[in-house]
Subunit: 325 residues, 2 copies
């Protein structure tokens, strides 16, 4: 579709609400983030002051983009965001509890149509529209950040499930009676191992339960995080490499199960842990293949998202808004 | 749609190919199996003699139903049946090895259009068309027989995956490094526990590793099977009840993972093991709920298929044929 820059080409707003911060921007049809900014999520004790602040931050960007008349709609990605009801329900990482009518609150404030889904589903749509999943009808998006999120696309459509909450691979149980997840009270979930938090916990366990030499022994336990483990592994530290090996083993098992479920063409990984590159990708690939039955072996691509991390969350959320009728 | 019985109401053929036997029948639009019969699968050393025999058995039924002109098409359910390619690939339970062009062979012999999928996918379509899943857009079908099969429906469509092989929940790993599956060489899969074979293995393990009294101790180990365990449990045998409790525990964990994947409205169970009723359903339900995060709890129905077992396989396969254009 040919458009000229000064014509009334429609734009959309993408808002990605995270536990710590919220990113937002104005996006054109081909995925250019024209204007963007961010603000704190967690300093807002109530959802109402958060929405007011969001409006005050976005209004100047909307004006710069040519005014509200150019905006087709708003896509919002948020933890536990429900596509069907427009609500955020019991999100452990957000400062506001219970069931929040988020889409309605944003819609009333901005006077624009709003679509909501969870952040990983939004990321999947972003990859399908602008990223590594262009042209794919069957793929799984996995976000490896503080937690583990997922969005599953089958037959060209995101799977929302009967209630809008499908795609919680991070909470599937990989190690029965395994590591406790403080947020959910469940044991052995993927998220308790294959997240930044999980890497830190694995580091603390290995430091405590083995005698292996490691530069991580010079770091105070409360200061160990996935970044320090990464730096140590890159510098050749054997224990640090073992931490990623273990993380990849658990992730690979989980991916094998996901593949045997929906048989995707590719699994697209996104988020902080992917920066470890082959340190985590190699064991992930190996353990995925080792757990697949023959008919699935050597078929599924594991790809790392190539969307710019600063833009990806906004792009994903914004992609939702193009579907507004 | 109103039809009169003596008009040219179209009919379809359903063929369900199992490792031991093959069932087939002629079905009308509302799911009446008008004519049906069965024959051996395993006595046929080649697929060609199998197809010849199938034709010779079906031809008289087709004639009774009014001739080939009334038949719209043939739906075939078979282990590892591929919807896209029409082939059966590396099916461990069939007597013929490698990649078999099954749909083409049936089509050439019968001169009718043929659709193929795996047996559990066919069962899912059967439930959606004639059974417990009527009106549902998101559900999972699980067949608990000699093995464990599954068919996953999301957004009203069966998930075939990029290659046609989606829905192999039976091979997902539930217990890492757990029980060896002789057919796949993988450890800890759902099928190695929650199948008739799995129940037998659990019985042998518990008899060997515990000192508990049980009527099963009077049975020769090589004669123990899921039927004998069932009879013992019904008669109040504590060890036999424990076997179903354990089977339900593993199945419940697997169902929790499946729910967190695609968030179905219901899980529909079918097959021999469901005859154990609450002996297996109660622990299955309890362990599923115990492993679900809050947002999924107390929402998902576990239903047992109410299709007549002798008809269900034929109905499932036949349902595919209505989709032929």
């Amino acid at each position: 579709m040919a458009t000229s820059k000064n014509a009334v080409e429609p734009l959309v707003i993408g808002i990605d609400i995270g536990g710590t911060g919220t990113k937002f921007g104005i996006v054109d049809r081909v995925g250019n983030v024209l204007f963007s900014s961010q603000m704190s999520t967690k300093k807002h004790k109530t959802i109402e002051t958060f929405i007011d602040d969001l409006y005050n931050n976005l209004k100047p960007l909307i004006d710069k983009a040519g005014g509200v008349g150019r905006i087709k709609g708003i896509g919002v990605g948020a933890p536990n965001g429900n596509y069907y009801s427009g609500t955020v329900e019991y999100a452990p990482n957000l400062p506001w509890k219970g069931i929040l009518p988020l889409a309605k609150l944003v819609q009333d404030k901005f006077k624009l149509p709003v679509v909501l889904t969870n952040d990983a589903n939004a990321a999947a749509i972003g990859e399908m529209m602008y990223g590594a999943a262009q042209g794919m009808k069957d793929f799984i998006m996995i976000t490896l950040g503080t937690g583990v999120g997922s969005g599953i696309v089958a037959n060209g459509h995101l799977i929302y499930g009967h209630d809008g909450f499908a795609g919680e691979l991070g909470h599937t149980i990989i190690i029965p009676d395994g590591r406790m997840h403080e947020g959910t009270g469940k044991r052995g979930s993927l998220e308790s191992y294959a997240s930044a938090t999980g890497v830190t916990l694995t580091a603390l366990e290995l430091l405590k339960n083995t005698k292996k030499k490691s530069v991580l022994r010079d770091v105070k336990p409360e200061e160990i995080d996935s970044k320090k483990v990464f730096d140590a592994a890159i510098a050749g530290d054997e224990l640090a490499k073992e931490i990623f090996e273990y993380t990849g083993k658990i992730l690979g098992m989980a991916l094998a199960n996901a593949v045997m479920f929906s048989s995707p063409e590719a699994i697209i990984l996104f988020g902080g842990l992917t920066k470890a590159g082959e340190l985590i990708l190699k064991p992930t690939r190996e353990h995925m293949e080792a757990n697949l039955i023959q008919v699935f072996q050597n078929k599924v691509k594991i790809l790392v998202s190539h969307l710019k991390e600063s833009d990806a969350a906004i792009l994903g959320a914004s992609a939702l808004a193009w579907e507004i009728k």
